[in-house]
Symmetry: C2
Amino acid sequence: MAKKAFISEAVIKRLPRYHRLLGQLEAENVSRVSSYDLADRLNVTASQIRQDFSNFGEFGQQGHGYNVSKLRGEIASILGLDRPHDLIVVGYGNIGRALAGYSGFRDDNFFVRAVFDVDPARLRDLPEGVEGFTMDGLPAYAASRNVDIACVCVPRSAAFGVAAVLDGLGIGRIWNFAPVDLSGVSKDIVCVNINMSDSLFVLSYYADAARRDGPESLPE
Amino acid sequence: MAKKAFISEAVIKRLPRYHRLLGQLEAENVSRVSSYDLADRLNVTASQIRQDFSNFGEFGQQGHGYNVSKLRGEIASILGLDRPHDLIVVGYGNIGRALAGYSGFRDDNFFVRAVFDVDPARLRDLPEGVEGFTMDGLPAYAASRNVDIACVCVPRSAAFGVAAVLDGLGIGRIWNFAPVDLSGVSKDIVCVNINMSDSLFVLSYYADAARRDGPESLPE
């Protein structure tokens, strides 16, 4: 299967939505789907969908649409969802608890193995299978255990320090919930920042627009 | 100031990033900035930035760049950040607690006024200025108080029911943290879904790519 060497970030960012929709279609026992049906449900154009999928090879047959399960499996493989990932959570406040306690990630092969916090009093009521350590236990943990991704859930003031520690321990994949951009801490860091406010602002815009012009539906 | 009647969703979704960067520049006492500087820091093209801003009128002078404060103020106004918004949180688990307790939203004029949960035992340790009610108190609350946005933080199984209740009470602006799409519940609902897994999957892709090809930096 011919694959292009470089896949643009915009395409990669659309793959989770395709994966989610294909999962819904599988649950509805739909076995084949056309680019037009997908486009209709995702509020994008059919030609964009065909172009996106062409990055990864050929999943469709002219006039026959796509095989839902095969396509979903291929996208899962591209995103790495067919392999288990070991996660740690740094900062065990409300967001850290929500991440460690959310069982849905396991369905996609992401497993929170341990949580870390400066305050030992916070390390209570841990979900089953999750270990808790104070921050000074992080180097020993990293030396003996696999860590694929660190979820950074500390306050803004602590985020850069934590990112530097993680970088020093060779843990460069950061899912960042602190409201600062950590990408600049080190060239070895691959960081995805969750800026939750961004979507709140977009909602604010459309809420005001709805008051002005009547409701409009929003794609995801 | 001439403004286009229709602004595409892609442009709206970029505005929060512009707003955030301009805030950083203000904090650094930068008063003017060129589209090239902005483009460099945001990993987009300068022409896209100029095109985006042209939707809202003229903020720049040829060869002189943009006035940082004026541009940030105008984007804030477009997004509605210059007006206070009253929020409620429905579902007071870990995510609900994180939202109600995060003071950063107030800086942008979003105020969580009340939280609701089916379980009265959960309604403890409320942040200052936040009231707590059981779910059956929602109609009376909605009848007497302003609600601009409802943050839905209930489990997947309860989300559609909650959205229907909110719709029945005329609360149509939903910031949805439940892992289902609530847009289809009613035509009157303006819903922004937070699919946190999506960004985790994107990180997973780039983490695997980094292992294969060496690190690469990711724009937000």
